[in-house]
Symmetry: C2
Subunit: 412 residues, 2 copies
């Protein structure tokens, strides 16, 4: 993955990290003993915060008033405000990239493996900020704040429903930019994100090349290719079939939960890979008393597991938000201009792209083409493959394997 | 793909084929001039025929009475009845493997590229027979005869609906066996079929090793692995969500066409590959006046094409039959016994497995494992990869590339 010069660099970085981590741990322990709340190292607890704009005009010219989004940060913004890393989230994700909201949270944020004191996105060094996108999928998660079809339209005092304007990845970026500017942040040490987060990262670097110093797109290409257009279409379909969807007007009745669950099941399945399915499951039945070869309603264990995951996710998700996310992702071509080549040529930031050759969502060929187009004018681009049996998801659950390379890239 | 000895064999076979084809063409032309209907070479026209059993008891012990299935044959059964090749069809397929029902049919059967006078499955030499399975998907196609939930249950004079018993790939084989026996056929020169047809082929060779002389499974493994269990589950889901499905009771009302269409769209998408999508389509809109980034109901061209294919297929398909096919495929483990290894060990026929490394339905790893298990006791097995950009479907639309190998294998 790395040549020998890079490897030796990584080794020295690792060494200094180890020293620093020991120091930070010592500080933490000291702080705890003293009952202090001013430990230098981030304690891993996160407070969800909110940002509001009185109104926002989308790239397509529609006005949304107000816009509220949630955000969280790890580490401390320095005085020069030049230590900022923006983390952009994936399709079904939220701002919760690291840490825990409460000590007893079952799991930390999705990229906790690489964000924290002494970790590759080192909270001792960087101010790492992440925000919920517009039309965030998890609109009914108490830890998510977003604006979309499920939000109240102040003009009608009713949820927007399908009257909410379609938004794009560029709109996500514009709202993030306003959030950053509200904190006086003009420059980004890096933008990094997986999947739909990669799309936001490409768009940031293309739209604002003077503000983005480093670009790390993970498991995402420079556009939605036809395969992804079709895959996203398949994700939307179960919701549209569900009679409760009612053309998006369901907020005073039963939501289209069956359709939403099935959509989320497809997301889970497509984001994985047959290697994962076949190494994780066997042909066991979900219920040892219900033989799926004898009963049309009985299921296998893998079906049950995927259904259970989907059901849990559907509890806090909104069906219209999923449809809007599908549209935003389908619409994506870096730069949103006449050509993908031109949009990617606008990127000047040195770029580290992490991807999986087994990705069934973003075709690896498209990711490699993206790298070629960014590099065509001499911009530095490095492609690093991720291993694992998860396919697309190796960029989320297997990100730790790229930690050393990310750490070094951030220091370059 | 082949060693040099095999290659030289193929060359000589090709030569004799060319000579025979010329002779056959001359005979055909002569027959046409004379108005004769007794040309030796098959003229490419197919007559659909029907086979009925007064009753059939499934492997699980349920009785279906009567059972009717359609069948067709290409070539002539010889007196010894030892020139029979059985072709078993795929999930959404029918008995129509080759030829045309009428001169002006838009397209011939799905494997016409390898079935016909002088072709690898040479109708001048073999009697090639294919039948519609039980619970065939295309229950409303006038050229299909099948028995399943959409059939009338004589006991009630109503369609069976979900009262129809679940059936398995082994049941498909048993009904085919009865069909063959009705023609006095006890031995099969070969069994060949793609995808679900491969499952039937494995089952034939495992259940009746003394009757199957050669086995050619195409794009299919020896069992439904967990990945396939989940994929099939996803195909079933849109139908179950459609309110018109009504727990399978829709034959006196509106059928669940929206769900059926979406199920068939998933089948088409999963049976293909991102290479095909991205080489065949671009990001064009379905309607140049309906911008999919501005209108939540507007689509891209690839969505429209997949929807159109699905809509056409849904016209002649039955939703319950699809659910029953899902169950039959999910239930499949060669031999339907205690272990896959034992079921595959029962296969004695020399085996030629054709598969694609880009197959997203049957994981290539599972196909290779299947070959290993068949060969573990010394049975001859050859694995041949199929190229192309269609993934799974390269075994249907790209079968001609393996024609020479199939021809040689049938002559071995």
């Amino acid at each position: 993955m790395h040549d020998s010069i890079e490897y030796s660099t990584l080794t020295s970085v690792k060494y200094s990290f180890a020293s620093r981590r020991l120091a930070a741990t010592a500080l933490c322990a000291g702080a705890l003993l003293l009952g202090s709340t001013t430990a230098l190292a981030w304690d891993g607890l996160v407070e969800k915060q909110h940002f509001e704009m009185d109104e926002y005009t989308t790239v397509s010219g529609a006005t949304i008033a107000p816009v509220r989004i949630g955000w969280e940060a790890y580490g401390t913004l320095n005085e020069a405000k030049d230590n900022v890393i923006l983390v952009t989230h994936f399709f079904s994700g939220t701002s919760h990239a690291a840490g825990r909201y409460a000590e007893d949270d079952a799991a930390p944020g999705y990229w906790d493996a690489i964000i924290g004191p002494g970790k590759p996105l080192d909270t001792d060094e960087y101010y790492i900020i992440s925000s919920d996108t517009l039309v965030n999928l998890n609109a009914h998660d108490p830890n998510v704040t977003t604006t979309g079809p499920a939000s109240i339209n102040p003009e009608t005092d009713e949820p927007w429903g399908l009257d909410f304007p379609l938004v794009t990845i560029r709109d996500f970026v514009e709202v993030q930019k306003a959030l950053l500017e509200s904190q006086g942040i003009e420059q980004l040490h890096a933008v990094i994100g997986p999947s739909m987060g990669a799309l936001q990262a490409y768009e940031w670097a293309s739209a604002y090349p003077d503000r983005v110093e480093r670009l790390i797109p993970v498991i995402g290409g420079g556009q939605s290719d036809p395969w992804l257009l079709a895959t996203l279409s398949a994700w939307a379909a179960p919701i549209r079939i569900d009679a409760n969807w009612n053309d998006g007007d369901y907020y005073d009745g039963e939501p289209p939960l069956d359709g939403l669950r099935e959509a989320l099941k497809l997301v889970t399945l497509n984001a994985n890979h047959w290697q994962w399915a076949n190494e994780t499951f066997d042909r066991s039945w979900a219920d040892e008393d219900a033989d799926p070869t004898r009963d049309i309603h009985a299921r296998y264990a893998i079906e049950q597991t995927l259904d259970d995951i989907a059901a849990a996710r559907a509890e806090i998700a909104d069906a219209n938000h999923l449809l809007y996310l599908v549209k935003a992702n389908q619409a994506f071509v870096t730069g949103h201009g006449d050509s993908l080549e031109a949009g990617l040529a606008d990127i000047d930031a040195p770029t580290l792209i992490l991807y999986s050759e087994n990705d069934l969502v973003f075709a690896p060929e498209g990711v490699r083409d993206t790298a070629d187009m960014i590099g065509a004018d001499g911009t530095s681009v490095e492609l690093v493959t991720l291993d694992g049996n998860r396919g697309h998801l190796d960029g989320v659950v297997g990100i730790d394997q790229a930690g050393d390379r990310i750490r070094a890239f951030l220091a370059e």
